[in-house]
């Protein structure tokens, strides 16, 4: 790429100067500029076409290109560099309540069918919720259950264990421990000799 000082063979230094002027005008303009508009602003008798061609050649293959837009001209970012004008930001969001509960149930009861999850949550589980957990790499399909209809089951993944720092789903604390740790709302248990329902339920589910 040659620098702008006017080539010696032209006795008209204006051409390089005209190119400079066009360059500044096109750069500063919010809209593409028509040749008529440029000519109006340039000194009289300025040879525009050659200067524009000169300028276009100068920018060829560069980060910015001089492009014809209809009857007008404009600088445009080189098409392959569009990605530089994009910025990707990643927001960390809290997992929704439905997803967290579903994930917890799968972790505590795996392999768990959708029906089992729904029974425990007491509400239906949307497809999207389980899809989201699968997309996140925390849940995957387990073996089909050997019960009528052979429903699919869901289990947690290695990625899940990794993320939550568990070596096995059995490391998850039971209800009694959760309560002892103050993680349950402080409500009196329903009966003094009521069995620890959760771990039993959990076990039975794990074994079923």
């Amino acid at each position: 790429m040659t620098q702008s000082p006017a080539p010696a063979q032209f006795d008209a230094p204006p051409q390089a100067e005209i190119a400079r002027m066009i360059e500044a005008m096109l750069f500063a303009s919010a809209e593409p500029l028509s040749t008529a508009e440029m000519a109006r602003r340039l000194p009289e008798g300025a040879e525009l076409t050659a200067a524009l061609e000169d300028l276009r050649a100068r920018y060829e293959g560069r980060g910015v290109e001089l492009r014809r837009v209809g009857e007008a001209w404009a600088f445009r970012t080189a098409p392959d560099l569009g990605h530089l004008l994009e910025r990707h930001t990643v927001e960390t969001r809290k997992l929704s309540r439905a997803a967290t509960e579903t994930l917890a149930i799968i972790a505590y009861h795996q392999p768990a069918t959708r029906a089992e999850i729904e029974e425990i949550r007491g509400v239906s589980v949307s497809r999207g919720t389980i899809d989201q957990l699968i997309e996140m790499g925390w849940v995957r399909l387990g073996r089909r259950k050997m019960t009528p209809g052979r429903p699919v089951t869901f289990v947690v993944t290695e990625g899940f264990l990794d993320h939550f720092g568990l070596s096995s789903p059995r490391d998850l604390p039971g209800l009694r421990e959760l309560r002892a740790a103050g993680l349950l709302d402080n409500r009196p248990p329903p009966g003094a000799d009521a069995p620890e329902a959760a771990p039993q339920a959990q076990d039975s589910l794990f074994e079923s």
Partner: protein, 261 residues
């Protein structure tokens, strides 16, 4: 006639001078600015300005303002007082007894202040005369904003997970409470039973003897039967149909038929 004309002309000139002075005072940015303007009338380099002469010019200016009854701001008068003091310092031989700054030192500092103010004025002018953005120099007219793509990563902690599970599992603890009646004997049941049997009870017998067989063993059932039967016994005693006794605290409670007198 001539004289009066001349006086009128003088009056006009004096009034004009006074008005000009008023305008000038308003145009000055304080005493230092006025001093700087006055110093220019000496037509010398600021470094060689005669501070003594400048002080006299300033004092003459203030005096003129006083004669013309022009109100001067307090800082002009403060400067006048200080310059009068400086003038006396410059004119009198230095007093070797005092270690106060000499008139020359004070004058030099004033000269420095004037030079510095002048320098900053010139710098401001040079700065303002530079090619300026939006007037002589332009930024990109068709700026392209950076497109921001936002994506989300969802996060949950182990604590969130455990709390969610606990929440789900304890939801059931809040269903409406229904008493399990299988192991419960009501007083009505005990009363019915006792009324039917008490007619035969001529001898003292523990109330437990009146429990149904399947309420004897299981502690929970036995507790409930004891309470219900005791309450029924009190009811029958009130009706005068039985007598109750207890040997001592926590000894078995015994009942027998009370024969009517």
């Amino acid at each position: 006639m001539e004289e009066r004309k001349a006086t009128a002309a003088e009056d006009v000139a004096a009034r004009r001078a006074a008005e000009a002075l008023i305008v000038d005072v308003e145009g000055f940015e304080g005493p230092l600015d006025l001093l700087l303007v006055l110093s220019r009338s000496q037509k010398v380099d600021l470094r060689q300005v005669s501070i003594l002469a400048l002080a006299e010019q300033y004092l003459a200016f203030v005096e003129q303002a006083r004669v013309l009854r022009i109100e001067l701001a307090a800082d002009y008068l403060v400067m006048a007082a200080w310059l009068a003091f400086l003038k006396s310092r410059l004119l009198l031989p230095p007093d070797p007894q005092t270690d106060e700054p000499s008139g020359e030192d004070l004058a030099a500092h004033l000269a420095f202040q004037l030079e510095r103010l002048q320098a900053m004025r010139e710098a401001a002018a040079v700065l303002m005369a530079r090619p300026r953005l939006g007037r002589d120099v332009f930024a990109r007219g068709a700026a392209e904003a950076v497109t921001v793509h936002r994506s989300s990563v969802h996060h949950a902690s182990l604590l969130d997970l455990m709390q969610a599970y606990a929440r789900v599992k304890t939801r059931d603890e809040f269903r409406p409470f229904v008493m399990d009646r299988r192991d419960l004997m009501t007083m009505e049941q005990a009363l019915d039973r006792l009324r039917a049997m008490v007619g035969e009870a001529a001898d003292w017998a523990d109330i437990s003897a009146y429990f149904p067989e399947d309420w004897q063993a299981a502690p929970r059932r036995r507790r409930s039967a004891t309470a219900a039967t005791f309450a029924a016994s009190l009811e029958l005693a009130k009706e005068g149909r039985i007598e109750i006794r207890q040997g001592e605290s926590f000894a078995p409670i015994q009942i027998r038929r009370k024969d009517r007198a």
